[in-house]
Symmetry: D2
Subunit: 314 residues, 4 copies
């Protein structure tokens, strides 16, 4: 009861406002991703944050309603979809669930481990996940759109075709990964279709509120808090959270777990979605990245959030 009471009185709005002030010092220290023109053009001073509680409250600050390129955060959606399609047993035969200890788009470990990506959140693993969706859906792009629109209750969510086109144009390393996977027999579909679908998913354009809402099943043990649908089993939800904690933030998972202490998935567009199971989801966006490719101000904001709220899974 003590705990419950503390949560009720916690003033999330005030906390977000404090955080908003405190991150200003580092807001311009990050570096915007520049391999794609449209990402490079995002102003460095953007910052948004949204907290969605299981009780149904939504708190926002700054540019929380502004769309950005969610990039790798989309790997959370496709993992959920692939689990729905083929289940855990078949999925974990084709992708591992261990942290990689190598950059997210490295080919080294893939070669040493004979084409089995270390986990679904490095690019090689995400390509296998896309391949699974492709084998089970006639239109994987539409399947993904339907899912995120429904889960975030925002029918306006779409892909950014300019970003998708740029990804394709510069995606030689992803193309190398896909061809490498194919050489090991770990892609069922043809390389070009897999890449097409992958570049599309990376181009999803969403905002902090959409993200916070759409992934509430991870906070709520697999259940949608609104529709009451069982999107994932309780155990699957727990497991995706554990995967995010050990593999969700590129090669900085240790540092992120150490500082923030929450399961989360980051994207090179500067977004991070994080979760306190049983309580809330908290999403942040700020385009300036640190040297690990995670949002610099965003990581600090989440660190401040767990410090100020005293909420952590540890």
């Amino acid at each position: 009861m003590r705990k419950k009471k503390r949560e009720i009185v916690m003033d999330f709005q005030a906390i977000l406002e404090e955080i908003h002030k405190e991150i200003q010092d580092v807001l311009l220290d990050g570096k915007v991703a520049d391999y794609i023109p449209k990402l490079a053009a995002v102003p460095l001073d953007k910052f948004g944050m949204a907290v969605q509680t299981l009780d149904g409250d939504l708190f926002t600050i700054g540019d929380a309603a502004e769309n950005f390129s969610i990039q790798s955060i989309s790997k959370a959606y496709t993992l959920i979809l692939a689990l729905q399609f083929i289940g855990e047993d078949r999925l974990w035969k084709r992708v591992g669930r261990e942290p990689s200890g190598n950059p997210f788009n490295s080919l080294v470990q893939l070669e040493y481990e004979h084409g089995i990506p270390r986990n679904p959140f490095i690019n090689a693993g995400a390509l296998v996940i896309v391949d699974i969706i492709l084998s089970n859906s006639k239109n994987p792009g539409q399947t993904l759109l339907d899912f995120v629109r429904q889960r975030s209750d925002n029918p306006g969510i779409g892909f950014d075709n300019e970003v998708a086109a740029s990804e394709k144009k510069t995606g030689f390393r992803n193309s190398a990964l896909a061809n490498f996977l194919k050489s090991y027999g770990n892609l069922e579909n043809d390389v070009d279709s897999v890449l097409e679908a992958y570049f599309l998913q990376c181009s999803l354009s969403m905002n902090c509120i959409d993200l916070a809402k759409s992934l509430m099943m991870l906070t709520n043990h697999g259940l949608s808090p609104w529709s009451g649908e069982q999107i994932l089993t309780k155990s699957q939800a727990k497991r995706i959270n554990s995967l995010m904690l050990t593999c969700g933030t590129y090669d900085a998972v240790g540092d992120f777990a150490y500082r923030v202490g929450l399961p989360g998935k980051s994207g090179i567009g500067g977004g991070i979605a994080a979760f306190i199971p049983g309580k809330l989801s908290v999403c942040v966006w700020s385009p300036g990245l640190n040297s690990n490719g995670n949002s610099l101000a965003g990581t600090l904001a989440l660190e401040l959030f767990t410090t100020k709220t005293g909420m952590s899974i540890f």
Copy 2:
């Protein structure tokens, strides 16, 4: 309040008894560590488990009071001691906090990363931690003994000199690691002293109850629940838990997080100490190991524990 009530009525003893029955099927499937005669001689059918709650209750089953070689679990104690000696800022300059993606005694990553071990729980990292203690204590063995005896309220805890001697006799790879670290300038003390202290710490002989009690500060946000001493700051306790989750179970951290979902530290003697922050510590021992070097029945027991209690950090 609902939550609090559920915890009160939870019958841990009954759960331990169920687990004890259910793990019998796999008890003989593991493989006892055989690189040291005394470890090789431990009967495969040993199994003990202890749960220590923050409320002060202790529940045990099987061989929970029987001593075994805690081996790498000792790395949790030495990390705490090193943090007390030199603090976080200095410590993290010499050891990383990222999962390694490589076997616990691998030299590969150490070479690629120029002598900075990935984290304090792989052997290379533990050697650096021991070096820190050596630089700050005249008798590191006694310092460690004093710490575990006091924290577990068991003055009878000691080293197993036969095991320590065997470790030394067969410890060529650890010797290679120590010399390699020295070649990179990441050991202050001489190689032999570091190895001596390291082999000694691995030989700590304790039981599940000792382990569960001695690490309660990790469950209790850094505070000893008995003496009330602040062993670690709240944030240090949280951070050690996050390190355990991302790095504590050799190269199976992903699998362990996925199945068990708790921060924990395992040892090749078959022990595992795990934590539910704010609630309890749970320690298990069974000498048969799985292919990753973690206790086979022990991992299953912890998985059953989180499933049956519904307790998980995720």
Copy 3:
């Protein structure tokens, strides 16, 4: 003069006949390359050998006049062409000249060395060489054909389109390598054009006699012994020979140098072209491969040749 005399009296024909007999024992022990239907269909008992001396004599045995897929031996021709196009200074900025210590189509070293292939004879290096030719020739296929036809005085030499098509169909790893090189900025032309030209060059269909004749400039210090043209400078010829010795036979260069002791270039079709500078070129073909991807009977035949003739560069 003593030496000269010994060469004159050396009965190469008798030696080839002895070798032909002695390799029969192992002829069926090799394994035909089976990743392409047409290679897989070559009978295991094929064996041909041709010796072309600087004095102008040609000695042959077995299936020396039968065409086979020369595969990676073509990398010798393209290296010569690329040197003619852009010279040594520019070429060695884009490709190294060190042995790789890794399989010929490995991506590991390429990643560690940031897109600079170790040498022009591993696949990654050969792709860069093809890229150089593409940047300097409107029709690289025709340029290559013209070169080998003229150098071997056989206008009938052509590509095997079925083999080229199969290479393309199964060439995912080469496609991965090309995309990887492109991601590092080490391909000037588009990935598909480079791959197209590469698969074509691998499909060159030639026989032992063609090979022995066409590469005589390597035996003759860069000079064509027939036309008198200076194809390569003396120093370039010497250097290509040294490259062959240190990098020409996949990851068995040490074993090949140890047993045969001649510079040579092998192909997965079972051909090997080797050189005794100042004296002769000797080419062998037998489709059964050893575990390193070099012709099993072919390597033995060359070993016997150096033993029986007493000729070796060492």
Copy 4:
């Protein structure tokens, strides 16, 4: 006959003098090895060169008679001794003969290849070779001394104990390698004895003339040109030369073969011994090293030697 004549009239002394002049420009560009005080103290402007022909002529220039620390060149002697003790079949089971593609004291490949060093000239391989000698000689240091004194006809050759002591004091990486080898079961003797003998062999103090004379059996197909003894079989001599060419100059074998085109063995003391089988041995010393750890002026001197004499094995 033309060739024979050219050799007779070749004025090696004049060539050495030309080389001596031409290398002056780069003499001070190298960097003296500085991990050992005595090596660090060698003046950068030292340069000596000696040519010993099979005809019995000796040509020298500069500091050819001045002793220096031959370091890794000693690996040639120990390989010959080990071959004499246990023969090729047994030796090549414990050490490979492939170039490594990694630094000479790397542990990476050793781990991937489970304790079998790539070749006898990287440090790990040399430690195995020393272990073989230790198993077959009561006093390996004396055995080595006897060998080099007899082969160079200089009873004054000795070890430099100060260098040996320094090697031991700073030899953590070699100690790591030895312990690592022991952990894989690839050392028969205890680690300390192997290291002791290894550090001793590295401290051999010899001059260019000694080196040139002592390894003439590699030029003369295994036969001592003076005593007529068969030190190695013809085939062993040929094979050691091929090993030197593919593995003798650290991770610059490709570059060395490319520029110099002779089998050779270098040492970090700045010495290089090279061979033109059937003709001569040529040894050079200059302490300034290039970035690969080979003598900078020494490599250039050998390159000039092959260019000016037109002698090359290719």
